[in-house]
Amino acid sequence: MPTVFRPDEEPRLRELLDAMERPVDLVVALGPEETPLPGAGDFDFSAETVKVVEALAALSGRVTSRIEQQPAGVTLFPAVLVLPAGDDRGLRYFGTPYGYELASLVGAVLEAGRSAPSLTSESLERLAALDRELAIDVFVTPT
């Protein structure tokens, strides 16, 4: 069975995760899956998602992982909830973060581990004036 991370990238990743200013909790939300596109074969999306998340959490004590069955507010499965310091700030990954998109999950974790946002000061000022709710969905593919 192939490993989730390449052996040559693990040390750097451990270093980055260990250096995070706050811990990050990962929740794998499992439930009924939509039928994927033809070609997916017998790929077990939920099992793969658990494997990826557990492998990421195993790299550093700053990252924890747990599995929940159909948590409130989640309607697509599998999903990964990224919780900075255990706080749900609405960061989600719906689907299995493998291939190219593994970097998106790792990026989400590293960003969530920062104690201050990494946007420019101009962007932060603009967001500080925001007084309505925005749900941003980004459709991605793993290849």
Binding site: R89, G90, P117, L134, A135, I136, V138, F139
Partner: protein, 66 residues
């Protein structure tokens, strides 16, 4: 994708989700996803392709989402 996550972390009013289009073809179809990344705000398809931070915020903060 990272910009969306950064934006969510910077504002309590923003949430950000990556959605794997191949695993959720029905939703991707509803959102007219033909290429990735494809961005929707508050359930309305907006644009395709990566953009710089300033442009990203210009678009997601557009008054049409008021």
């Amino acid at each position: 994708m990272l910009l969306a996550y950064k934006t969510a972390l910077a504002s309590p009013h923003v949430t950000a989700a990556a959605i794997e289009a191949g695993e959720f073809p029905r939703l991707a179809d509803e959102m007219n996803v033909w290429a990735v990344p494809s961005i929707a705000v508050n359930g309305v398809p907006q644009w395709e392709g990566a953009v710089r931070e300033r442009v990203f915020l210009d678009r997601v903060l557009a008054p049409s989402f008021a």
